[in-house]
């Protein structure tokens, strides 16, 4: 993914290409992540003033990493045009009761995709 924009009128051909191929947000790299599958992690309690993809309801909650998706550009930086800040993103599983308390179903769970920058060790 490139951060620089051409500021050129999108042609029909460019639009077709964008529809067909989209925008690749993944980075090919072997750089290790801060966490691994099975780790217990806490979503940081942070109140970013600008753009973030870390919703409020998950901040401060503890979950488990179930999958490492690899390295992706960091939307919080991209949305502000501050760079791509590539880092690992993980699928993290939280029990419904961890997020919503004992009134929630003991059976249910929520999965959300969280970047290294959103997480801390427990």
């Amino acid at each position: 993914m490139e951060l620089e924009t051409s500021n050129e009128c999108m042609t029909v051909e460019q639009a077709k290409e964008l529809l067909r191929n989209g925008i690749n947000c993944q980075i090919d790299s072997n750089e290790p992540g801060q966490f691994k599958v099975g780790d217990q992690v806490r979503a940081k309690v942070i109140h970013v003033q600008n753009y973030t993809r870390l919703p409020r309801y998950i901040r401060g909650k503890v979950g488990m990493i179930v999958k490492d998706y690899g390295i992706y550009v960091f939307p919080d930086a991209v949305g502000m045009r501050l760079g791509t800040k590539p880092q690992h993103i993980y699928s993290v599983r939280f029990t419904a009761q961890e997020i919503w308390g004992s009134d929630a179903s003991a059976k249910d769970a929520l999965y959300i995709d969280l970047f290294d920058d959103y997480l801390e060790s427990v």
């Binding site: 924009t5 051409s6 050129e8 009128c9 309801y57 991209v78």
Partner: protein, 107 residues
Amino acid sequence: MNGPHDLGGMHNLGAIPIEVNEPVFHSEWEAKVFAMSFATFKNYFPVDETRHACERMPPGQYLSSSYYERWLYALELLLNEHHLVTKEEIEEWLAQFAHSQTSSKAD
């Protein structure tokens, strides 16, 4: 940003508007707002910048606007911030369009 878009867990936002056989767009203007925004993706604005622009709509306005009204807000905001179009230009063109519509009605 702790904005109005961060809705997970919020109560009292009503019944889910389930529509049978829903069209892709409900009006021509929705289709145009969508396509104009799409045509700015990548070439003018990273998609995340457009998402963020939607979220910067003041909370009261965000929660009382429809989906494509929010997209329109984001489009106008970014066009203006990146000096592609000024607010004045938009209002000027709008006044001309409104005027031509009124005069054609009068004919």
